[in-house]
């Protein structure tokens, strides 16, 4: 099965039907439920969703970074080998060496008691067996590459002596030290101011081209996705709801949740006083997910009672070569745009609170 259009580029990562959960005092959280996707070399693959949609857990599971997450089912094929069945020793070689991660908050991700240079150099020492001196030289080279001025001096400094934007660049430097084939960036610029975000994203994309890697970009910021991504996967309540090229997702979405996200977004280039259309209701709990399509209680297109609240919709091809949607009525959404939603919305809906569906008082 191919999930993306036939590409001449090498498939780096294939995730197949991944199911992962963790157990809490309140019950079992099904954080990732049947997710499948491919990432190619040279491509930016964006995973989009709101808090709690399972986007970060998906990424962390690829690297095996959350010990409490149990994988129930599925395969994570890295260059053809299923990492889930590899011995820990082998997995460790891939992690950091071939697949590297950039975290959202560099101040918690960097070790405060070691210099930045030493931490970056450690990557080369562990994965490539470099000596202390050579590792430091590599660290300086990497810092220079991500645009940190006076890299040699800065390498001797500690994380707290760096500004937020510099720390995030140091994180990128650390991630690319071993020239990984895949970078996983989890909300890499969310904590940064927009002018700094622009700098960091420019560095990230420049590096990607330079080392010819793939990127999994996890973000809630649809603007960042629009500018950088080649492929987009939208997640909701632990499931994939839509997947396609960036243009398909933004201009021809076939899922009510994606359309809802786009319609709720204030835009810098909207001069008119177009209303923002909120998605009514609140995101569901992953412990107690709604029956059928998890989005149905908030969906303006849901046909109830019916398929929507009884059957979980499968992700299926709905248009083009590989535009997929998990909506029972995806075909009826052809031609539906953000403007359609804006035209249909009524005043009460605009200010309705995110109270659970069915509750009075909205």
């Amino acid at each position: 099965m191919t999930l993306t259009p036939p590409s001449t580029r090498e498939v780096l990562l294939s995730v197949r039907d991944l199911e992962a959960k963790f157990t809490t005092d309140d019950g079992i959280v099904r954080a990732v439920d049947g997710v499948s996707f491919d990432v190619h070399r040279g491509e930016v693959f964006a995973i989009v969703g709101e808090s709690g949609s399972g986007k970060s857990v998906t990424a962390m599971t690829i690297l095996g970074l959350i010990p409490t997450v149990e994988v129930d089912r599925g395969e994570i094929l890295w260059k053809g080998r299923d990492v889930l069945t590899l011995p820990e020793e082998e997995r460790r070689k891939i992690r950091g060496g071939e697949i590297a991660m950039i975290f959202q908050d560099p101040l918690t991700a960097l070790n405060p008691v070691h210099t930045v240079g030493r931490q970056i150099g450690e990557m080369a020492r562990v994965h490539e067996g470099l000596g202390k001196k050579a590792a430091m030289a590599r660290a300086v080279e990497m810092l220079d590459l991500v645009g940190i001025p006076e890299a040699k001096e800065r390498a001797k400094m500690y994380p707290h002596e760096y500004s937020g934007g510099m720390r995030q660049r140091a994180m990128i430097a650390m991630a690319i030290t071993c020239k990984p084939d895949l970078l996983i960036a989890d909300e890499p610029t969310t904590a940064l101011d927009v002018t700094v975000q622009a700098q960091v994203l420019e560095v990230l994309i420049g590096i990607k081209d330079e080392i010819d890697s793939g990127i999994i970009l996890i973000t809630h910021d649809l603007g960042v996705v629009a500018g950088l991504a080649d492929q987009v996967m939208v997640m909701y309540a632990g499931r994939q709801v839509e997947m396609g090229t960036t243009e398909e997702i933004f201009y021809e979405s076939r899922h009510p949740y994606t359309l809802g996200l786009l319609a709720s977004l204030p835009r810098l280039d909207d001069e008119g006083d177009e209303p923002l259309v909120p998605i009514t209701g609140a995101p569901p709990s992953l412990i107690n997910r709604p029956s059928g399509c998890a989005f149905h209680p908030r969906c303006r297109f849901a046909k109830l009672p019916g398929l929507c609240d009884t059957e979980v919709p499968a992700l299926r091809l709905v248009a083009g070569d590989a535009h997929r949607s998990a909506c029972h009525y995806a075909e009826t959404l052809e031609g539906v745009t953000v403007d359609t939603l804006r035209a249909e919305v009524d005043q009460a809906e605009l200010v309705a609170a995110d109270i659970d569906a069915g509750e009075p008082g909205a």
């Binding site: 709101e50 101011d193 700098q199 603007g223 629009a226 204030p266 909120p278 200010v351 995110d354 109270i355």
Partner: protein, 352 residues
């Protein structure tokens, strides 16, 4: 657009008189060091800010972290005492009002904080949180308070039975609505909204933004909307002031700031905001600033933005003398582009 100085004159007709006028606000925080914790220096978080807010108007105050926008917002409400400068609320000086008069005045302006979880008492039900200001300021009877609490909850889109819940029983968006209800309890005329929707997911944020707009129309409120998200500000604000390192660098109507920005910083800021539109976004020219914001403890001479200014570089490459940027501080001036901008080389540019 009227100049701050002219708008601040007491002779203005009563109908035109701004609800709030701030003149030359300065706030220095001491830097403490050594064993004795003596002040060894100072950070001027706000270095001379003047602004005004009309009734029923939304002023957007934008800028990046550390630019002094939140400190300014708090000084407007007398939550932080300014080092110098003055705030006039409805013609009355906040700094010179004391005791009972000050308490009466405080009723008329309120604040909504960014994080509703931190700003609501976790051990009080939402009902008692909303009742408290009514008791303190109005001294109402319990039945009056009960009715008003129900009314407030309905006003912000929650249901009256939510009064018995505790903050942790609400989602982020609902909690922010409680924060708004609390601010509305005393029927204020002005609300400072400090990053009110930054912590919310977009699908929820939209409802809260719409609610704020609806309440403004219904209750005739004036807002000072402090935010780093320039897209939200374009949606909600009538006028916008852009801050950099403790100063306002540009001010104008929404259309002026977004359509004809004149300051190189405003231009860089706007160009850095990504658009959720792949074709437009990929075709856009982005102005990338170099370096980081300098420390407010030791701001650059002349223009505070000059160390990161792309325009200064561009001009120097063209052989233009930019010594004024280093030697002279630029002041807000409407002469060059029609709205106040603090740049020696102001010129408009389309960046959105």
């Amino acid at each position: 657009m009227t100049e701050v100085s002219t708008a601040a004159t007491p002779e203005a007709a009563p109908g035109d008189q701004p609800l709030l006028v701030a003149t030359d606000l300065v706030k220095d925080f001491p830097i403490r060091g050594g064993v004795l914790g003596r002040a060894v220096g100072q950070v001027s978080a706000v270095a001379g800010v003047s602004l005004h807010v009309q009734r029923r108007e939304t002023l957007g105050l934008v800028g990046e972290s550390g630019c002094g926008k939140s400190t300014t917002g708090r000084m407007l409400l007398d939550l932080i005492a300014p080092t110098s400068g003055e705030v006039l609320f409805d013609g009355q000086s906040l700094g010179r009002t004391r005791g009972k008069d000050l308490a009466t005045m405080r009723r008329r302006f309120q604040i909504v904080f960014q994080d509703p979880y931190a700003s609501l008492n976790p051990r009080m039900t939402v009902g008692s949180t909303l009742a408290e200001p009514l008791k303190v300021h109005f001294g109402w009877r319990d039945d009056q308070i009960h009715d008003r609490v129900q009314e407030l909850l309905t006003l912000v889109g929650l249901s009256p039975e939510h009064a018995n819940r505790f903050p942790h029983e609400f989602s982020g968006g609902q909690r922010q609505r409680v924060g708004i209800a609390r601010a509305l309890a005393l029927e204020p005329e002005l609300i400072v909204l400090d990053e009110p929707v930054s912590a919310l997911d977009v699908s929820i944020q939209a409802g809260v933004v719409n609610l704020l707009e609806m309440l403004q129309d219904k209750l005739g409120l004036a807002y000072v909307f402090i935010a780093h998200d320039l897209s939200v500000v374009r949606h909600i604000a009538d006028r916008v002031a852009v801050m950099y390192l403790g100063k306002i660098v540009e001010e104008g109507t929404r259309d002026e700031i977004y359509g004809r920005p004149g300051h190189p910083y405003t231009q860089a800021l706007l160009s850095a905001v990504p658009l959720p539109d792949p074709r437009r976004e990929k075709a856009r020219q982005r102005i990338i600033l170099r370096g980081d914001v300098p420390s407010p403890a030791n701001p650059p001479s002349g223009c505070r933005f000059r160390t990161r200014c792309w325009k200064k570089l561009e001009l120097e490459e063209g052989g233009v003398d930019t010594s004024a940027c280093v030697e002279q501080e630029p002041f807000l001036d409407s002469a060059t582009i029609g709205h106040p901008v603090a740049c020696h080389f102001a010129a408009t540019r389309d960046v959105v």
